[in-house]
């Protein structure tokens, strides 16, 4: 049974396009929202927005389609 894989390189992302959630488990993103990515699977990320850290359960964000994943340099500064 495949599990979601924790991301190693992609930890932070910023949304480059608006995304409206079509299900409850999905996260709506507005352009400019920053997200903290936890794990990934099959083209989707799981994470939470830094604006709303509490909503962490079972949400996913389409992978590198709606989020621009910045390179490591940026990640290290933010952490």
């Amino acid at each position: 049974m495949a599990r979601w894989i924790p991301t190693k390189r992609q930890k932070y992302g910023v949304a480059i396009y608006n995304y409206n959630a079509s299900q409850d488990v999905e996260l709506s993103l507005q352009i400019g929202d920053t997200v903290h990515i936890l794990e990934m699977y099959e083209g989707w990320y799981r994470g939470y927005t830094l604006q709303n850290k509490s909503k962490k359960d079972l949400l996913w964000i389409p992978k590198s389609t709606d989020t621009q994943v910045p390179d490591l340099q940026w990640c290290s500064i933010c952490i």
């Binding site: 049974m1 495949a2 599990r3 979601w4 894989i5 924790p6 910023v14 480059i16 396009y17 608006n18 995304y19 079509s22 299900q23 409850d24 488990v25 507005q30 352009i31 400019g32 929202d33 920053t34 936890l38 794990e39 699977y41 099959e42 083209g43 989707w44 799981r46 962490k56 359960d57 079972l58 996913w60 389409p62 992978k63 389609t65 709606d66 621009q68 910045p70």
Partner: protein, 758 residues
């Protein structure tokens, strides 16, 4: 809402396959109608309706089942036409390149495709190769024509090659009995077959290559043979170093130059192709030798006049070859760039002295004689410093690599070819803060210009980015440097820069040069004019517009964001207006007697339900709301009138003073008992007018329509959008939404987030 269940546990109980995951309770279940992969039944049978033709037969319309093997399909088709031996036949696409249909490409058959039945590829190959041996020339020609048509198909090519087709064609080419159409056809077929990549170019025999070289070197009547021969040689040179050397030794550069000068575009392009291939294959020393020779033979002028500026449009392939030529020529400067200044080299020391003398010639001469060695040395040192080297030993500046000796070359060129400009630029170096140091400048410029001209790889297959002005004169790099250094001086003054701003100025100059080069000016003069027109102010303006564009006043997702933010911000403005109303304002009353304007004060009650107002004495403090005698319940207000509609304005009639009042007047009509009464205001200023009308409109529930509102909203929107897009500083925003992948098949998360955080 208490969440007592663990989501992960739910998820772990999911399994793959056709079962839909149970909706976790606690979340509202919503129907998802998107089709999920793997959850439907087996895909419907893929049947396409097509037509099959054959010469001299009635076409058949059949339903082709893509799951059925092709052999079975062929049998059916042949049976329908009463043809025996179906293995002798094959299906082809009827249009375009007439490709044979195999199991690999059958997916390309769509509804409505037209196919034709023809001889199977292996038989066809057998037939045609046999035809090559035939006695009559016409027979050979016919066979070759058909071979050319079919060779672009991979399946057919494979059959031909496995039957030694290449060898047979090679023999025809090598024998060279017929120098006309047959040779051209043979060459073309050969090339088509080779280009499938099944056979390496290195397998060609030396006599064969030599023969093809012959064709290039001789004068032929048929114009179609030589481009093909050149194309063959180009492919050989690029693929095989050993054969490439052979070709280089056998094809004189002059011969290629002759071909270039023929007014046949295809021949020119192919000759240029071979030329660049040979140059690329050569070692750096050889390449320099070849390029020097070509330049000596005026290749550059020829290219500039007859190819770039010719009447016929420049083909893509030729542009690519010119780009390669440009990169290779500029690449010759690379060794100079990597060589640091050698402090012990007499020649280089003399060159540095020459630079100094060129700048301070007159002074040097008069003071040169009659000075002791020490004095002369110190004079030299001072002059070098004046020239702008960082210390008295200029060698140190130039020891840095890159740009190494290239900077010195540039400066020498500048001093020799534009002496007046040189002395102007160097004399401006008072050594003070106000002027850039020449040495530092040349070093910086050389490092900057080189990557702009040579940045992409010359080996990239399709790059077409050559600059026409490069071919306009010899020593283009140095000329560009001269323009650059004068530009830098000009920009330095425009930016009012000091020594610390050196890097900033370099960046601006780099941008100026890059932008102007990107416009591809066709001559150096044009370049000079354009780059001088691109002043510092212009650069700033361009940067600003681009930033605005990026910040996305235009990008669709940003517009969406703005729309989403608008209601919230309008609410904010509304709040502000009402608060302002609660604070109250002092108004004037226009009395008909005009003796003295009376003052009165009006404000909104904190619960927004009542307008309180009352007269006020001149000079008194603004009264407290409790002290105001009159009250007007908001619920009674019927409408808000502005400008000319106000009763007190209407009474006044028109007149200049009244016009001004008109703009500031507004009135509230309300019910007083049974009648309609008005409360008339004259706002003290335009802004107050807007605030009050907005506030009253908001109370009445109608939209706030004043100019002030619009401005405020715009300002707030921009600020809010900027804040949100802070993270997106240098990230490009796509025009269209990126595609959404299908949702994941399971939710087996790695992290268990249901554990409450401390």
């Amino acid at each position: 809402m208490a969440r007592s269940w663990s989501l992960d546990r739910e998820c772990r109980s999911l399994h793959w396959g056709l079962e839909r995951p149970p909706r976790p309770q606690g979340l509202q279940a919503r129907c998802c109608r998107r089709p999920r992969p793997g959850w439907t039944m087996a895909p419907p049978r893929n049947v396409v309706k097509i037509a099959v033709q054959m010469r001299d037969a009635i076409p058949q319309l059949i339903q082709l089942d893509q799951a059925k093997p092709l052999a079975a399909v062929l049998k059916e088709v042949c049976d329908a036409w009463s043809l025996t031996l179906p293995e002798r036949y094959a299906l082809q696409f009827a249009d375009g390149h007439r490709r044979y249909i195999t199991e690999n490409n059958r997916a390309e058959i769509k509804n409505g495709s037209i196919l034709c039945l023809s001889t199977a590829p292996d038989l066809e190959a057998e037939q045609l190769l046999g035809g090559l041996q035939s006695g009559s020339r016409e027979g050979r020609r016919e066979a070759l024509r058909r071979l050319v048509l079919l060779s672009s198909d991979m399946t057919f090519a494979r059959e031909v090659i496995s039957r030694d087709g290449l060898q047979r064609l090679g023999t025809i080419i090598e024998d060279g009995d017929d120098l006309g159409e047959v040779l051209a056809l043979a060459l073309r077929t050969f090339l088509e077959l080779m280009e499938h990549g099944m056979v390496s170019w290195e397998t060609l025999s030396i006599p064969f290559v030599r023969k093809v070289v012959c064709y290039v070197n001789m004068n032929l009547m048929d114009p179609s043979v030589q481009p093909l021969a050149l194309r063959l040689l180009e492919s050989v040179t690029l693929s095989s170093p050993a054969l490439g050397q052979l070709i280089k030794s056998e094809v004189p550069l002059d011969r290629l130059l002759v071909h270039l000068q023929v007014m046949n575009q295809q021949l020119q392009t192919k000759a240029m192709a071979l030329l660049t291939a040979l140059l690329q294959g050569a070692s750096p020393a050889e390449r320099k030798h070849m390029l020097d020779y070509l330049w000596q033979r005026n290749l550059r002028q020829f290219i500039y006049k007859n190819i770039i500026h010719s009447a016929a449009p420049l083909g893509d392939e030729m542009a690519h070859h010119l780009y390669v030529l440009q990169s290779l020529t500029l690449g010759l400067l690379e060794p100079r760039m990597r060589t640091p200044l050698d402090p012990y080299s007499q020649e280089q020391r003399e060159q540095l002295q020459a630079l100094r003398q060129a700048a301070f010639e007159s002074e040097g001469e008069s003071l040169g004689t009659g000075l002791s060695a020490d004095r002369r040395r110190s004079l030299c040192a001072r002059e070098f410093r004046k020239l702008g080297f960082s210390n008295s030993n200029p060698g140190q500046d130039l020891e840095r690599v890159p740009p190494g000796l290239l900077a010195l070359d540039n400066m020498l060129y500048f001093s020799r070819h534009a002496p007046s400009a040189y002395s102007r630029v160097s004399a401006g170096k008072g050594g003070g803060q106000q002027n850039p140091h020449l040495g530092r400048v040349s070093v910086g410029l050389a490092v900057t210009i080189y990557p702009i001209l040579c940045s992409p790889h010359p080996s990239s297959e399709t790059a077409q980015d050559f600059s026409p002005m490069f071919f306009g004169q010899d020593q283009s790099f140095h000329e560009l440097f001269c323009v650059g250094i004068q530009l830098l001086n000009k920009t330095w003054k425009e930016m009012r820069a000091t020594q610390e701003d050196f890097d900033k100025v370099m960046q601006v100059v780099r941008e100026q040069l890059a932008r102007t080069l990107a416009l591809k000016p066709s001559s150096l003069e044009l370049f000079r004019t354009k780059v001088n027109a691109l002043t510092y102010g212009e650069v700033l303006r361009l940067r600003q517009t681009e930033r605005l564009h990026q910040e996305g006043t235009l990008a669709p997702p940003i517009l969406e964001l703005r729309e989403k933010l608008k209601p919230e911000l309008m609410g904010l403005i509304r709040q502000q207006r009402l608060l302002r109303l609660c604070e109250g304002t002092l108004f004037r009353k226009i009395s008909s007697r005009r003796r003295q304007d009376k003052l009165w004060f009006c404000c909104l009650s904190p619960n927004h339900k009542v307008l309180q107002y009352g007269d006020v004495e001149e000079g008194a403090d603004p009264p407290t709301p409790e002290a105001l005698p009159e009250q007007l319940p908001v619920a009674d207000i019927r409408a808000l009138l502005t400008g000319k509609d106000c009763p007190h304005i209407r009474e006044k009639g028109s007149g200049k003073q009244n016009k001004d009042l008109c703009e500031l007047a507004f009135s509230v009509s309300y019910d007083r008992g049974e009648e309609e009464a008005h409360l008339n205001f004259i706002a003290p200023s335009k802004r107050e007018f807007h605030l009050w009308t907005d506030g009253l409109s908001a109370l009445l529930g109608s939209p706030m329509g004043s100019e002030q509102t619009r401005l405020d909203l715009e300002q707030l929107l921009t600020m809010e959008t900027k804040l949100r897009l802070l993270e997106l500083e240098n990230v490009p925003i796509p025009e269209r939404p990126p595609p959404i992948p299908p949702p994941p098949t399971n939710f087996n998360f790695c992290y268990d987030c249901s554990i409450a955080e401390p």
